[in-house]
């Protein structure tokens, strides 16, 4: 009898916990289902339909995808998006790493203050920051007039606005805190005695960094790369406002398809394809990270 009662309890308690758990996350679950899963499913279904002048034909076909992967324009835009996102990621992480390193290792009691200062750019709207970069980088902008005034250049620089460079500069600045924070977290977790042990075993500063600090901060580095890379591929405001014609990216084309071109199914196919490509790049990174963690040393 005693045993029987114990068994029922052992089954009943986790069940009750499961239900309570579901209840706890239900608002979030409803949100996730209606705002993320459902639209995603709709998008994928729509990408299989076809736009027939003003009507949408609801027969399943892969025509849109064929167009996406064969038309040179879409391929160029996709490649450019990946390239710009790659460069933005590289620049952002290269700039963020030393800052995160400094705060984690030399921040001392002022770590909190440094982190607060790093988030200051967020106190203004992203759009306002883009316009500020326009003011800085423009033909008669702060940078050009400053350099002209100093006599360092005779002609205003034009390669810094309305092209891919402007997009890279603006996004690298905008994403910096997002990259600094995960890097800071993983760097500040490194036990200093590990660095002393490496030193004790004969490593100078460079080897110590490459063999201990860098591999141990890899999770933060990968997080930073993904956090910057994924939204950048799909960014649409910055290229629209600062990119000119050379700086347009895939998201701008998706917007065109849903809007002016009135071809929502093609837009959906472009969006789905972009998502798939970004997802595969992300998975590749995660896989590389695990492999590097195993093989470092």
């Amino acid at each position: 009898m005693q045993a029987g009662r114990t068994v029922t309890r052992a089954v009943a308690v986790p069940m009750a916990r499961d239900w309570r758990g579901l209840l706890l996350i239900s608002p979030t679950l409803v949100y996730a289902l209606t705002m993320l899963a459902a639209p995603l499913a709709l998008l994928i279904i729509m990408s299989l339909w076809t736009q027939d002048v003003i009507e949408i034909r609801r027969t399943i076909s892969l025509d849109n995808y064929r167009q996406v992967f064969t038309e040179p324009l879409y391929r160029v835009l996709m490649a450019r998006s990946l390239l710009i996102a790659g460069v933005v990621t590289l620049v952002t992480v290269l700039l963020a790493y030393p800052i995160a390193y400094f705060v984690a290792f030399y921040g001392g009691k002022r770590r909190g203050m440094w982190l607060l200062l790093i988030t200051i750019p967020f106190w203004t709207s992203y759009l306002v920051r883009i316009f500020l970069w326009k003011v800085i980088l423009g033909y008669n902008g702060v940078l050009n007039s400053g350099l002209l005034g100093l006599g360092l250049i005779d002609q205003p620089l034009t390669f810094i606005l309305y092209n891919a460079n402007a997009v890279v500069i603006t996004l690298a600045h905008a994403w910096a805190p997002f990259a600094i924070l995960p890097l800071y977290v993983s760097l500040s977790r490194i036990d200093h005695s590990l660095l002393e042990a490496a030193r004790d075993l004969g490593d100078g500063p460079v080897r110590r960094f490459l063999r201990i600090t860098l591999p141990l901060s890899m999770p933060g580095l990968i997080a930073a790369v993904l956090i910057v890379f994924i939204p950048t591929v799909g960014d649409y405001v910055t290229p629209r406002l600062l990119g000119g014609t050379d700086g347009l990216m895939i998201a701008n084309m998706i917007e065109v398809q849903f809007g002016k071109a009135n071809n929502a199914p093609l837009g959906a196919a472009l969006a789905t394809s972009a998502m798939l490509i970004v997802a595969s790049v992300a998975l590749l990174f995660l896989w590389l990270n695990q492999r590097s963690l195993r093989r470092v040393g």
Binding site: D191, S193, A197, A198, R199, D200, L201, G202, G297
Partner: protein, 366 residues
């Protein structure tokens, strides 16, 4: 062990603000010996160890290792290796990669590196563990990896910073014995920092007891236990009864002292100090409880037991000496047939003058 000093510390001082962490320490550590720096936390023992390893720089004085002055030599270029208190095992590397870490820079080649790693792992009884990840190891195994990683470098001196403090009692005792065996086997000079006096006594050839940034006494374990120079050292190493005393006279045969509650005694061979007040120390195991009326000793006093602490293998009695307020601790082994006496029982205690230690002459007992 040889008589060649491998480490020479000369008047080394370090200040944090105005507080001296080390106030001018000098000592020689001999090649091949097991040397311990013993003291309470904050006494400067770890600071001294970190200066030998190069992680801290002295404000004054010099340290030389194997005849070479170490001023300006960074830790990565010193012939020392360290076992850290936290072990500092690299979490992203396997056991074998951890042990091979320092060898990589030496470019010994794959075969030689592998051979040395396996040799080092065998030395610490971790054969076949090379492929394990650090998180799969127990505390004791992690410590062995840390040892192997340092020993594989064949350092002239191995520095150990409280290596046992993270282990539980049983494992600690086992590792103490093993570390001692290992040191004898490899013949490398070991410098151990510890706050555990038993550990220091058990493992060391010589011990330096440190208080407030200075060495209070440097001696063999036996010398340290039998002839502590001060009340501070005596109370840090083992248990000790302290009694107030007056040095009545000092002549070639020894010092005559009047001890509270015990009376007058001649300390043979004691010639330090001047007539005046002092402290006399006597270890609890040097006081013998006399069972039966016929048992006798060189000197005897009577008393009443006020408390009994039973430890299994031995019993500690608190005994108030008759006609005084003085309470002394007496330690008795619980050998066969010996009864355990209880509080309130009367007893006779035997003692001898040769087991008395004269401490801090000219300083009154506190």
């Amino acid at each position: 062990m040889s008589n060649q000093p491998i480490i020479q510390v000369r008047d080394v001082a370090k200040y944090y603000g105005d507080e001296p962490a080390l106030a001018g320490v000098s000592l020689d550590i001999m090649a091949g010996e097991f040397f311990s720096l013993l003291g309470p936390s904050g006494c400067g023992k770890t600071t001294l160890l970190r200066m030998i390893s190069g992680f801290d720089v002295p404000d004054r004085g010099s340290i030389s290792i194997d005849g070479v002055d170490m001023a300006g030599v960074p830790p990565n270029r010193r012939p020392t290796n360290m076992v850290f208190q936290s072990y500092a095992i690299f979490p992203h590397l396997s056991v074998a990669q951890n042990v091979a870490y320092g060898l990589k820079r030496l470019r010994l080649g794959r075969v030689e590196t592998k051979r040395r790693v396996e040799e080092a792992l065998a030395l610490v009884a971790l054969e076949g563990y090379g492929g394990r990840q650090p998180h799969e190891l127990s505390g004791g195994q992690r410590q062995r990896v840390a040892l192997a990683r340092a020993l594989v470098m064949q350092p002239k001196v191995l520095l150990l910073d409280e290596p046992m403090s993270a282990l539980d009692k049983k494992l600690r005792e086992q590792m103490q014995t093993e570390l001692r065996r290992l040191q004898r086997a490899v013949g490398i000079t070991f410098v151990l920092v510890t706050h555990d006096q038993e550990e220091a006594l058990l493992m060391s050839d010589r011990i330096a007891v440190m208080f407030n940034g200075s060495i209070a006494q440097l001696d063999s374990p036996e010398g340290m236990y039998r002839r502590p120079v001060s009340r501070q050292v005596a109370s840090f190493i083992g248990m000790m009864n302290f009694l107030r005393a007056d040095i009545a006279s000092i002549d070639p045969s020894g010092a005559t002292v009047n001890i509270e509650a015990l009376g007058s005694a001649l300390l043979p061979g004691v010639s330090v100090g001047k007539p005046g007040s002092a402290t006399i120390g006597i270890r609890p195991e040097m006081l013998t409880m006399l069972y039966g009326d016929h048992a006798t000793a060189e000197r005897v006093f009577r008393g009443k037991i006020v408390d009994t602490e039973y430890y299994g293998d031995l019993t500690l009695y608190q005994v108030r000496i008759d006609d005084t307020a003085t309470v002394v601790t007496v330690s008795m082994r619980n050998t066969a047939g010996r009864p355990i006496l209880q509080a309130g029982d009367r007893t006779r205690i035997g003692w001898g003058a040769e087991s008395l230690v004269l401490l801090d002459p000219l300083e009154s007992a506190k």
